[in-house]
């Protein structure tokens, strides 16, 4: 019996190859999109699963309220906090600090290596993060101050093998005699912290006073609580601890600490500032694309169901004969579900081929490392089997029950079940759903696109074109910045150079500055160290007062330049000459405002421009910026490299263009847009495919009616309208449903940006236009056949 079903199903599908093709193409595309999205979602939900005692592991988040920035959640806490926590709070089993020092330079003999993902920490890290050592003992590796633990890969990269690396001494950021006291296993990539090298915390702490201060928040702190401890209560206790150690009031309210559970760190940290998350993702984005995936697969299933129902008229005779010969309804249900199993199976196989082909591209867009691994990912296999059976049943069930309901007598006599015509409400509802989704998605993509274009073209307040920044090599940044500035100017095409803490002008950190008057105002600002050439180079106008000037000897120790946002936050009418007092870790003399620059977007346009204060501080520069007029960028980079090797032989040159850096800020947005555009096009395509098939079948069903009308004098346009009307009404209803929903969703989406476009009628009209166009093209394409067909053919066959 089974083989009989299978055989007949195959033959049926082969015979109706156009129908089968539409189904298979639609379904496989939908399934492929679904698989990729599910893999993406699985990848993001797999983050941090290697950390032991998941449910007791937390990151400490500090909620601050400061003048100029309002409320902010930061993932940084003071250096002395972690060692204190297990001593002061019994519920805390372990606490560990993870101070990141960016990319460090390792020197082995005469060779330099750049090492990323370096953390200064304590030996408790091995227990809390579940890091296993291949060489060395967790209790001993950080016994001496200058000790380093390398990952297996890092050891192999620098020394060739684990054994060769273990016990060696290296130079770290131009400091000699760091002992490689341990080698750890490589840490998983799907972790919010990428760890490749660990260094004893003390080695950094002894050189930097702020790392010993409770007033400087500079590193993430993680805790593992004892079983059954209440995280809320622990948070309150840590808040109190922080309060007890407070020396200054930096904020408008005392900061509060809460414990962020491990499973929220990767995907639910959008509001958290100052975090080091690797490839973070927004939970709402995950949900949005998950919904899109389900919608796409639903559209494909709907095609399946609609085509099957529309085709059922043609198959009515077969059902009638089978019933007459004794087939029970269940027999027929099996029969039709068998066909659906075959179509879906073929589609799943095809989908896997699409996925395999397109994964590299997707990995680039999604910034992920997805792979189709059947052997190591049991969930994938279960998922695929589930997709196969699920879709087969979902799409096969209704048509199967629908067709098996036919009365043998009626279909054999030629009486058509009125429900079998396309007039059935379910078919109509499904078409409306398909189009509503297609229109909604189109609308959202149009709005997103407009927003991204707006950002891309928005005046950021500075000229980032033709700017390259070079990282200044240590150990003497001050001397080397001067040297670089001078020497780089000699390269053809270099128009100006400037030294700065970071290419965007601000150092990334925040500080509180205290107004030196009777108001006792303390304002939180971003902080930047720039020299006298930076604002000119970036074409950032000084709107009040003056720029830094080398001829003013006091500028270096006593001057500050603010941005307009800072002036506004302080509500100053005449800021020039106003003074700040030394405060907290800032032991410098009083600073006087000498100038105000116009606001520019030093970070992405997602966030409002925060108050910023700029100081002239030669020992704080990390980069030298160049403005050039070269169009041959690659040769220019070679010129820079040649000059660099003259000045700092053996040192690796690290450079970044301002445009690249800006692109990084918006990469997430662009990628989301690409993704949604792709899925929208897919959804439209599958919908169009379904409509194509449906129109074809509908015209076939109505061929007799159309033939009679033609005999009676109906012309081509009237016939096309006859068919089109049926579908256009449905598209109209879809528009009414889709637009309000899509509109609301778009507003939510725009809410993520600080500066946004307004949605106009243009997007509405465009979305409707695209949907109508697709519907009309499909219908007209088919209707052509009505005209060319000889009416007698249709009349005879009936």
């Amino acid at each position: 019996m089974f083989w009989n079903y299978l055989k007949i199903a195959f033959r049926n599908l082969y015979k109706q190859h156009a129908y089968t093709l539409i189904n298979v193409v639609g379904l496989s595309t939908g399934i492929a999109a679904f698989i990729i999205i599910m893999m993406f979602v699985q990848y993001h939900f797999s983050f941090d699963k290697h950390i032991p005692e998941q449910d007791r592991f937390y990151r400490l988040i500090q909620v601050q309220h400061g003048q100029g920035v309002g409320e902010q959640h930061v993932a940084f806490n003071p250096g002395p906090m972690a060692p204190e926590l297990p001593l002061a709070i019994p519920e805390v089993e372990y606490a560990v600090r993870m101070l990141n020092w960016g990319t460090v330079l390792l020197r082995v003999g005469d060779v330099f290596f750049e090492q990323r993902n370096v953390y200064y920490t304590d030996s408790v890290v091995f227990k809390t993060f579940g890091i296993k050592l291949i060489k060395g003992n967790p209790g001993d590796v950080f016994k001496t101050m200058n000790s380093v633990v390398l990952s297996k890969s890092a050891a192999e990269k620098t020394f060739g093998s684990v054994d060769a690396a273990y016990g060696q001494t290296i130079e770290l950021n131009h400091e000699k005699d760091y002992l490689i006291s341990g080698i750890m296993e490589d840490q998983p990539l799907n972790a919010h912290l990428q760890i490749e090298m660990l260094v004893a915390y003390q080695s950094m702490e002894r050189k930097n006073a702020f790392l010993r201060s409770w007033n400087s928040n500079s590193m993430p702190v993680y805790v593992r609580l004892r079983p059954n401890a209440d995280a809320t209560i622990v948070g309150e206790k840590i808040t109190q601890l922080l309060e007890d150690h407070k020396e200054y009031d930096f904020f408008t309210q005392s900061p509060k600490i809460y414990l962020q559970p491990l499973n929220q760190i990767h995907s639910k940290s959008r509001i958290v500032k100052f975090q080091l998350n690797h490839a973070p993702v927004d939970f709402s984005l995950l949900i949005a694309i998950l919904i899109t995936a389900i919608i796409i697969i639903a559209i494909a299933c709907i095609n399946f169901i609609n085509l099957a129902i529309a085709r059922s008229v043609k198959r009515a005779k077969e059902v009638g004969v089978r019933k007459t010969l004794g087939a029970s309804r269940l027999n027929l249900v099996y029969h039709f579900i068998g066909e659906s199993l075959i179509i879906t199976f073929v589609s799943v196989v095809l989908a896997l081929i699409y996925v395999e082909i397109s994964l590299p591209e997707f990995n680039q867009i999604l910034q992920s490392e997805l792979r189709l691994s059947f052997f190591t990912n049991p969930l994938l296999n279960i998922g695929l089997f589930g997709i196969w059976i699920g879709i087969s049943l979902l799409s096969g069930f209704y048509p199967a029950f629908y067709m098996s309901r036919y009365q043998a007598v009626e279909v054999l006599k030629g009486i058509r079940d009125s429900g079998s015509r396309f007039g059935g409400w379910l078919s109509k509802a499904l078409v409306v759903f398909q189009f509503a989704v297609a229109i909604g998605l189109t609308f959202i993509v149009l709005v997103t696109n407009k927003q991204i274009m707006y950002i891309a073209n928005k005046d950021l307040g500075y000229n980032y074109k033709n700017v390259i920044a070079l990282r200044i090599p240590g150990p003497d940044n001050q001397k080397n910045s001067q040297l670089l500035k001078q020497e780089l100017k000699q390269i053809n095409g270099v128009m100006a150079t400037a030294a700065v803490s970071d290419i965007n002008g601000v150092a990334g950190s925040q500080t509180t500055i205290w107004v030196d008057d009777t108001t006792d105002i303390k304002m939180m600002t971003r902080m930047g160290y720039v020299d006298e050439d930076f604002f000119d180079l970036m074409e950032i106008p000084v709107v009040l007062g003056r720029n830094f000037d080398k001829t003013f000897k006091t500028d270096e120790l006593e001057a500050v330049i603010l941005n307009q946002a800072a002036v506004e936050a302080l509500d100053w009418e005449d800021p020039i000459g106003k003074r700040f007092k030394p405060f907290g870790a800032d032991t410098l003399p009083k600073r006087t405002v000498i100038g105000v620059i116009s606001d520019y977007h030093y970070y992405s346009i997602h966030s409002r421009i925060e108050p910023a204060a700029f100081y002239l501080r030669p020992d704080g520069y990390n980069m030298v910026c160049i403005r050039h007029n070269r169009s041959d960028i690659e040769t220019f980079k070679t010129d820079l490299e040649t000059k660099w090797q003259e000045l700092f032989p053996g040192n690796p040159l690290q450079l970044v263009t301002a445009e690249e850096r800006l692109e990084r800020e918006y990469r997430g947005d662009r990628n989301s847009l690409k993704l949604f555009t792709l899925f929208t096009v897919l959804a439209l395509l599958i919908s169009a495919l379904g409509l194509y098939g449906l129109t074809a079948l509908r015209i076939e069903q109505r061929s007799r009616e159309i033939a009679i009308r033609k005999v009676l004098g109906g012309n081509m346009v009237q016939m096309i309208l006859l068919v089109a009307k049926e579908f256009l009404v449905l598209v109209g209803i879809a528009i009414l449903i889709a637009l309000p929903v899509a509109w609301l969703f778009s507003l939510q989406l725009l809410d993520r940006f600080a500066y946004t476009i307004t949605i106009s009628l243009l997007e509405v009209i465009s979305a409707i236009g695209i949907a109508l166009l697709i519907a009309l093209i499909t219908i007209i394409f088919h209707s052509g056949r009505i005209v060319t067909n000889n009416p007698v053919n249709a009349l005879k066959t009936d």
């Binding site: 033959r11 089978r322 007459t324 004794g326």
Partner: protein, 228 residues
Amino acid sequence: MIKAEKLTKVFRTDEVETTALNEVSFEINKGEFVAIMGPSGCGKSTLLNILGLLDNPSKGKYYFLEKEVSKSTERQRANLRKENIGFVFQNFNLIDELTVFENVELPLIYLGMPAKDRRKRVDEVLEQMQIAHRRKHFPLQLSGGQQQRVAVARAVVAKPSLILADEPTGNLDSAHGEEVMNLLNDLNANGTTIIMVTHSQRDAEYAQRLIRLFDGQIINENIKKNLL
């Protein structure tokens, strides 16, 4: 074998009520060959559908193999059908997607017969109907007469005690028509009861008894010899 008591069938639409059969009563014994005749719309096919358990009457009683079945469910009727009744239609009603062999095999599949036995039985019947050489062809590759022979083969393959034929020669030329009628005649001679609806006087001559219908009522019921 068959006993109809005041069988009535009424078709209703929103506005019109049509009585297709009006209190029709008769009996048919095992082994009989009965022809039903009458003008278009007189209720012949409706009657045949009820006799074939494809439809239920609106009123009246229908005894099939001594069992009252007028109120049976579709499931019960399906079981009775597949074990006892074979159908032959005017338009053959073969499944175009299946080969000759597979079309004939279908009733046996629904009866749950093992594959080996099925093959044997189908081959036997195809030989008997002289269509075995076409066993791998699809219906649309055959002539009308050949298609109807396949249809008859399919009707008899499960060895039903009753064959219902609805205008079996209606779509055939006279030579092919005669072939089919001879097949039915042979089956009847071997003990199969046959009820046939026809327009053709010639075909009716093969029957032993004739029932004439007009406007849903029997107007004449005669034994062959008296009639002709």
